[in-house]
Amino acid sequence: MAMIELRQLSKAYGAVTALSNLDLSVPEACLYGLLGPNGAGKTTTLRILATLLAPDSGSVVVDGVDALQHPREVRRLLGYVAQEVAIDKILSGRELLQLQGDLYHLKRSDRDHRIDDLIDRLGMEAWIDRRCGTYSGGMRRRLDLAAGLLHRPRLLVLDEPTVGLDIESRSAIWQLLNQLVEAGTSVLLSSHYLEEIEVLADRMAIIDAGMVIAEGTPADLKQRLGGDRVTLRVREFSDAQEAARVRSVLEPIEGVREVVINRAQGFSLNLVIEGESVIGRLRDSLEGAGLPVFALAQSRPSLDDVYLQATGRTLMDAELAIAGQRDLKQEKRQSMR
């Protein structure tokens, strides 16, 4: 049985569509990544899962429980770590965790035992009794993760858990997430960091404009794309004319699928190639044309290539395009009760 089943989920904020018939199935005891640019619908999806938001239509089933019919049961088995960490600045971290434990109706002795355990695991001893108002971003995020884990949920949902974090906090969080999945917890996290999904996720979905546009294991998705990526230069900095000449030499070669001139990288050439002997043929042809290879790098397709293939733009371009359109005030109002 899947841990999460989302079917035909739709949600609009006024005229803005956040989700449009989104389907998602997350298996048990798996670390599942949602990749997409800001504004793609990741946060909306997670907020619906956390029962903070009702979809306009569609069904939400968590661990066999219908979240729209029995939200309280779902809240019990799910831990949610929101993107904007809401903490009480006046309380100490420990007091916040005690409050959290009481809201989940833990027994007092059990509660305090678990708090000590999490303080230990997340390396919070040094500052847990200081007021939350003094914490750095990394401390807050670790505290929030501890709060989400206190009731030992079967499913942990994290919205961009490491965005803007220092390396130490990030790796502490990654390590803990891996331990959790090993011990049988299902984890769903959203991210717009390719590396994070690449390193952590067993399975992933790419979300764009409120829909799932690709789904599978990261390795599968890259494999499905096929071909190797090659970056090639005939000089450290070429000009447009030379790059065009190189392209005209490369394009007819058998096994070269695509040649793009990358102006941003000093008119280097980005190729997609298929087959073993292509590199040799490529070097020979360029040599023959009097344009010997200066530098050549070959790599397997990355998740960025997967994203590019699925959406027709790079993740960074998508972020930039959306950055200008976001209405942060409106978003804040949506999250406010």
Partner: protein
């Protein structure tokens, strides 16, 4: 390396509904008190302001001619009841502020993600907190007033004072919590509190009896809920307790102490019923 952290299903033998409700309500109330203790400025200001009223106004009218006030009361004693009620009223009017901040800063979302037995525990904790706070502040004012020589109610009188204050505090808390969910942000809430505060004080019998007022103001004061709380407390201070005695000669008729309390009770229940649909909607 630490041991793995397996998920744990909630215990099959879950504690009863009442135990859960108590646990979550107490935890939320504890948080509000921790905030108060670590940031006591609201508590201090809440006592200082009425204290200044009491001392300054008391001094201002100290030389008022004898027999000017009903029953030959001194002005200080007359003012005492008004200031006690005003203290509780101002404190309760702020009940919505912590809730509003939780809404704005997203802390409320943290509460709503938790499997609370009932979300009324959020409202209930606010009511418990603000009731305790306003009663403590009122008691502080009562003790100061007694030190200033403005008297102290007897045992039965003290019970009447507390009951009256409780009714008023519940009503005003309901109003403030309703506003905290209806208004868009804390700026608006503070503006409403600011605007409501003083006119309600002046258009009541806190500072002067009805007989001093022009008819239109007398009407306002006789409809003002603060008046219904002030008069029983003033009566509790001024002698043997008789709730069936006429305490207020309002333009629309005479009101006994019983009637005043009844009006406050109806107001409290009415306000809670009024805000219930709003709270249900916002907390669903």
């Amino acid at each position: 390396m630490t041991s793995p952290l397996p998920p744990m299903p909630p215990p099959a033998q879950a504690p009863g509904a009442l135990a859960e409700l108590t646990q979550e309500t107490l935890a939320l109330t504890r948080r509000l008190f921790l905030q108060l203790i670590r940031r006591p400025s609201t508590l201090v200001a809440g006592v200082l302001q009425p204290l200044i009223w009491l001392i300054l106004f008391g001094a201002l009218f100290a030389n008022a001619p004898e027999g000017l006030l009903p029953g030959g009361m001194s002005y200080g004693r007359f003012l005492g009841a008004g200031v006690i009620v005003f203290t509780a009223f101002s404190a309760a009017l702020n009940a919505g502020l912590p809730v509003m901040f939780d809404r704005e800063f997203g802390f409320l979302n943290r509460l709503l993600v938790a499997p609370l037995r009932s979300r009324s525990s959020i409202v209930l904790s606010s009511v418990i907190y603000i009731t305790a706070l306003s009663l403590v502040q009122s008691l502080a004012i009562m003790m100061t007033a007694s030190l200033l020589g403005y008297g102290w109610p007897g045992a039965a009188g003290l019970v009447l004072v507390m009951v009256t204050l409780l009714l008023l505090v519940f009503a005003v808390t309901a109003l403030s919590l309703g506003l905290a969910f209806a208004l868009p942000g804390h700026i608006e809430l503070i503006a409403v509190i600011f605007v409501a505060n003083l006119p309600l004080l002046f258009a009541s019998t806190a500072l002067a009896p009805l007989s001093f007022m022009p008819p239109w103001l007398g009407w306002l004061a006789a409809l003002n809920p603060l008046t219904f709380a002030i008069e029983p407390i003033r009566a509790a201070y001024s002698g043997p307790l008789d709730l069936s005695a006429v305490l207020l000669e309002a333009p629309y008729g005479n009101l006994t102490g019983e009637t005043c309390l009844l009006i406050l009770l109806v107001l409290t229940i009415g306000l809670f019923l009024l805000i219930r649909p709003l709270l249900n909607r916002k907390l669903s």
